[in-house]
Structures are given as C-alpha cells and as structure tokens.
C-alpha cells in the first residue's frame, strides 16, 4: 500500500483520443483473456479522492463511463490503496463491497478480479474484470495473470500520458513511442475482432 497517489491524467485537458483508445483496448482485451462479462478501468483522481470509470467493456459500457465514487470504498478502493491485486468469488449472497456502486451501475457481479495500475510507486487506477469464466476464477495463477496484464497496461498508460501531445503546440512529428503504442493497439484490436 502507501503508493503515492497521483492523477493519471492532467486535470481538465481535452480528451485524448489515443488515451480513450488505449483504455478501451485494455478493457476489451482483459475481458477476452478472462472470458468475462465485463471489464473496466477506473482512474484515480487524487484531488477529488475519487475513482472514475474511464473505460468499460461489456455490461455497463453505455452508461458507466464518467461515473465516479469515493476512492476509499470497496474492493477497487482497497486495491488502489494497497497496490495489491485481489480476486473474489461468491459475491452473490454478499451485501458488501461495491454493492451500492454495483446497484447504481445496474450490474451486480458474482465474481470480481481487480489489479492496480501501477507505474513506479504511483497507483494510476484499477483494472477490474467482472464475472470471469468459471475456469478463470479465484485462483492464484489468475491473480498473477491479471497482475501481469495490469502492469503492461499501466506502462502503456504512463507512456501515453508522458508523451501526450500538447494541445496548443503546432503539429509536431508523431512521437515514436506514441506511434508504436498506437500501432500495437490497432493490432490488438484487430486480433480481438478476428
């Protein structure tokens, strides 16, 4: 725990289409890897002490993006604060955790996996996978896989934010790191759609 919590994105810049594409690609891929009903990325807004849904794949995709809730709450909150991944199963009879959040979002999962998006000692947010396939539930190896994937996503997020184009500057040649990332994203998308 005790990571430095910093906003993953500078506050109030115009939305970066590459960022949106990256986050959507991450949740689409996570959902495919785990055969899940849904996957989402919540980014931390330190100033507001809130987690914000930035990308959703599957259940809730249409209305969840932009929703926010207190960062200290629930499993996602614990994951962000502790910097540790978590998998839970058998949530159906639980009145707990993000249930109030889940109810407001219209989807109550029975199983949930969550891993922090960490770069260095900063937590950028949380990657969640909801209702993964029964084969992919609650085991330590799934926890490892999710953590690996979340680490990769966090690196990509970091690259994108540090190489973000400045809105007011004249168009510069595309940053190679950014271009490479976008190429990989397009490839991942294509594979998922096949």
């Amino acid at each position: 725990m005790a990571q430095t919590i910093a906003p993953a994105v500078p506050s109030a810049p115009p939305p970066d289409p590459a960022m949106a594409e990256l986050l959507q690609s991450v949740v689409d891929t996570a959902r495919a890897i785990f055969g899940a009903e849904a996957s989402s990325i919540l980014l931390l807004e330190a100033a507001a002490d809130e987690l914000v849904f930035e990308a959703v794949s599957g259940q809730g995709q249409e209305f969840l993006v932009g929703r926010r809730f207190p960062a200290g709450r629930g499993i996602a909150g614990w994951v962000a604060a502790s910097g540790e991944p978590m998998v839970v199963d058998d949530l159906h009879d639980s009145t707990s955790f993000d249930r109030d959040v889940a109810k407001s979002t219209g989807f109550v999962p029975n199983a949930l996996m969550a891993a922090p998006l960490v770069h260095g000692d900063r937590v950028l947010g949380v990657l969640e996978v909801l209702d993964p396939s029964p084969q992919a539930r609650s085991s330590l190896s799934e926890l490892d896989l999710l953590s690996l994937f979340a680490r990769q996503a966090a690196v990509a997020l970091h690259v994108l934010t540090t190489h973000a184009p400045r809105g007011t500057e004249p168009a510069a040649p595309e940053d190679p790191a950014r271009a490479e990332l976008l190429r990989l994203l397009a490839e991942a998308r294509r594979l998922l759609e096949e």
Partner: protein, 279 residues
C-alpha cells in the same frame, strides 16, 4: 571506538554485561511445543492479544466474533492521529483477515487498527502510524496483510519491526502478491508469509529460500466479508492471518516464547521440515 559527544543511552538499554554475572540475568523460559502428529499446534489462543492492521474489522460478524478494541488512523492538517472508532470495515479485507485468525485461534482477543478506507493522500504515513500504534499497545501478535513499496518509509519501518521484535510483539506480514519489493515483510525481524496452492486449510510450509519464510493456504479461501457474509478469495493476504492465528495458538500454550522461539516452533512444525529425517 566512538568519538565526539553522543547522547546518553536510553535507560534500560544494555551494551554489555558489566559487574554482573549469569545469576543476575536469569530467564524463566518456555520450551516450544512439540510438533503435532496431525492437526494444529498449541492451544486455542486464549489470553493472547492479536491486532489486525488493515481496513477495519466488522463488528459482530459470525466468523469474527467479539472485537475487543477498534481504532482508526486518520490524517488532517495537524498531522496523523489515532482514535477509537466504531466504524467497522471500509472494504471487507480486514474482516476477512480477522475471520481467519478467529478460525485458527478461536479464543484469542482480537482488535483492529484501521489504516485503509480514509482518503488516499498520505496513506504511507497512516500505515506507519497504524503499525506504530499496534506495537506501542504491546499486542502479542500483529497481522499485517499489507506492505509499502515507498523507500522513504523503509528505515522507520525497520526500526518499528525491531522494536516489536525486542518487546516480544510478533509482526506477521504478507509478502506482496506480485514481484514487487515492498516492506516490512522483507525484514528478518518479522514472520513473512506467502501462499501455497494446496487444499489443506491447516497446512503451513517453511520456505527454504527466504525472504518469504512461510507458506500458508492462500487459494480459494472462504473468508468473512461485509454484512455478516462470506466470499471466496485468493492471495497472500489470507495466508498471513492463518500464520498469525498459529502464532496465537502457540503463544497461548507457551506464553513466554520469544519471537525467535516462535519462529522456530513454526519452522519445526512445518509439514516439509524433517528433523534428522524423523518426519
């Protein structure tokens, strides 16, 4: 040798035995319990004070039972503070840990220090203060299914872990779930725990390649959760309170064991440790 002005030693601190002999330093000790043929080691935890430093513990949960005392650590403009609280658990994680300790050592006294569930900023300070509080309350066993990767907390954490060790408070600390260097589980003064994947809920193993010293059940563990419910979950977080519970059991049957004796008792009773090929 030392040169220059040094502050006077703190009262009671000993650098050497001067003007006294063996008869002046008698130690009434306990022998570690014999490793059991099967089942769990030691007593029921009676008389042993255990503290869970985590997200709080839900009161009156059927899998947790009574919680003796609950505190929360919080930060405001004046700094970091500790106060008694009846807020319970912000997320379920602390309650899960408490339930595993209760299952393993049913008669121990359980308390909670909540270091998660408040605002994020300064959570490292809050963790540190929570551990400090638990150590200064002189709990027998402190369960810490958390760690920090921030370097600036390492020295203070090490000092606290040593303070705990020498005052006979055992800190049982989770290894990180991913390949992350974090603390205090890396310190030899604590008992560090990771997960094994066996189904036996009472099995603990010694790791011949530390720093993680022990492995305990951490996969698909049924744990207490919020609202009096239970869930299944996996991770080192849930292996750790099993070992904390074992420590409480052992201490309840041998209350004078030192932390190094306790670690030895865990070592000798680990299923994979064979003394002279006897097991």
């Amino acid at each position: 040798m030392t040169t220059g002005q040094r502050p006077a030693p703190a009262p009671g601190l000993t650098w050497g035995l001067r003007g006294r002999g063996p008869a002046d330093v008698p130690v009434e000790a306990d022998h570690p319990p014999e490793p059991p043929e099967g089942g769990l080691l030691g007593g029921t935890g009676r008389g042993v004070r255990v503290c869970v430093v985590d997200s709080g513990v839900e009161r009156d949960h059927p899998m947790v039972g009574p919680v003796a005392q609950s505190w929360r650590v919080f930060k405001d403009d004046d700094g970091v503070h500790v106060e008694e609280t009846d807020e319970g658990d912000a997320c379920g994680h602390g309650t899960a840990c408490a339930g595993i300790i209760r299952r393993t050592a049913p008669d121990c006294e359980l308390s909670s220090v909540r270091v998660l569930g408040e605002r994020f900023s300064g959570s490292g300070d809050i963790l540190l203060e929570g551990i400090r509080w638990a150590v200064r309350q002189r709990f027998d066993v402190v369960n810490l299914s958390l760690s920090t990767s921030r370097d600036r907390f390492v020295e203070e954490l090490r000092r606290l872990a040593d303070e705990a060790y020498f005052q006979q408070t055992v800190i049982v600390a989770s290894a990180h779930n991913t390949h992350v260097e974090s603390f205090p589980w890396r310190f030899s003064s604590v008992i560090s725990v990771g997960s094994h994947q066996e189904d036996d809920p009472d099995l603990h193993l010694y790791n011949p390649e530390p720093p993680v010293e022990f492995f305990a059940p951490g996969q698909r563990v049924q744990v207490a959760w919020l609202g009096g419910t239970s869930i299944r979950t996996s991770g080192n977080s849930f292996a750790t309170p099993f070992v904390a519970g074992l420590c409480a059991r052992i201490l309840s049957s041998r209350p004078r064991l030192t932390p190094f004796q306790l670690k030895n008792a865990l070592y000798l009773s680990a299923a994979n440790v064979r003394v002279h090929g006897s097991r």
